[in-house]
């Protein structure tokens, strides 16, 4: 367990080293901002167990921690905010809640 922005986080399966830029066919890929640089995790979209795990992660971060999820493309393509879990292949950036400064 380690602290991510003040909350306890199980780092298992997350890594700063995964290549977020490379194409990831058939994968669900999350990049989560942590304050220590982003951590990434990848799931196989064809594996039911892994998709379930990805959904649990989604529920925790987006549902409980109120993170914002954005599906992103490469090379500056317009981002799309995802509000409901869809086990779709793609890359998502998870941003901690934002507030007016």
């Amino acid at each position: 367990m380690e602290k991510v922005l003040g909350w306890e986080f199980t780092k298992e399966g997350w890594s700063p080293e995964l290549d977020f830029e490379a194409p990831a066919p058939g994968k669900i890929m999350f990049s989560m901002m942590t304050g220590h640089g982003d951590l990434k995790k990848v799931w196989n979209a064809a594996n039911t167990d892994e998709v379930e795990d990805a959904k649990r992660t989604w529920d925790h971060l987006v549902g409980e921690k109120r993170y914002l999820a954005f599906r992103v493309g490469d090379d500056g393509k317009q981002a799309e905010q995802i509000r409901e879990w869809t086990p779709a292949v793609g890359k998502m950036i998870l941003v901690p809640p934002v507030a007016g400064g």
């Binding site: 220590h36 982003d38 992103v72 950036i93 941003v95 934002v98 007016g100």
Partner: protein
């Protein structure tokens, strides 16, 4: 503390009491607090007394000078006043060469009740440290200093690594033009197609608060927006969060952000 006597006094660290057995003997009110005296290599004795409001006091000891306090101290009464002040502090010294033998005494009265308190402050002298103790202290100081250096270097490496990763992620999410802008000017422009069909240009400057600007037709900022995630995120992550939200949901961005107008040049 009208019903009890002064609070228990604590010897200053590194000092030992040499007199003062008659501390805080009381016959009534208690209002002398946090008071103590000590010897400085037995060359000079100092005493600090704090008096609460509504108190008169008269010095009866062997002091020879007053270093601060009221002008008529110690020859006359000290009136600490009856206003809302809570404490007065008087510092005076005897100039005695042997503080251990100094006679300290203070007669104090509370003016409303005239109940008398005889109070003799403690006199302390510093305990000389042995060579071993001094060496041990120096060693401990050096250990602390080395640890501070190591911790500082570790924090710096950690921060640099975090910033590097955040910059890498931001760069991946920018197009070629934006990457060049960021490298060259420390900001990048973002064109947002609003739901109403209009098109706006924003500039995201390096930073995390008040760093998003709406660019007018003349190319100058007209409005400034302040919106950010947890302030512990590296700036590059904050800038990416701003970019993503602006692109995906400009309306929400504008609803959350605090806006201020930029002054005309």
């Amino acid at each position: 503390m009208p019903n009890g006597l002064a609070e228990a006094r604590q010897e200053p660290t590194g000092y030992t009491i040499v007199t003062g057995v008659n501390d805080n003997t009381t016959t009534g009110c208690a209002w002398a607090k946090d008071s103590y005296g000590w010897g400085d290599n037995l060359a000079k004795a100092h005493h600090i007394l704090r008096l609460q409001t509504n108190v008169f006091a008269n010095w009866t000891g062997s002091t020879t000078s007053v270093t601060s306090g009221t002008a008529d101290w110690p020859t006359g009464w000290l009136d600490t006043g009856t206003s809302a002040c809570t404490t007065n502090t008087i510092t005076f010294s005897t100039g005695n060469t042997d503080a251990a033998n100094a006679v300290w005494g203070l007669d104090c009265w509370q003016n409303s009740k005239h109940s008398k308190v005889r109070w003799t402050p403690s006199v302390y002298k510093q305990i000389p440290k042995t060579a071993e103790e001094l060496a041990a202290e120096a060693a401990q100081r050096e250990i602390r200093r080395q640890k501070q250096i190591r911790d500082g270097a570790r924090r710096k490496r950690f921060k640099e690594a975090a910033n590097g990763r955040a910059r890498g992620l931001l760069m991946q999410m920018l197009n070629e033009t934006q990457r060049e802008e960021l490298e060259k000017d420390n900001h990048f422009h973002l064109t947002v197609h609003s739901r109403d069909g209009s098109m706006k240009v924003y500039r995201i400057d390096y930073g995390y608060a008040g760093n998003v600007k709406l660019i007018g037709a003349d190319g100058k900022p007209t409005k400034r927006y302040c919106i950010h995630a947890d302030s512990r995120l590296p700036y590059e992550d904050q800038m990416l969060a701003q970019k993503l939200l602006l692109e995906a949901d400009e309306k929400k961005f504008l609803r959350i952000a605090n806006m201020s107008r930029c002054r005309a040049a």
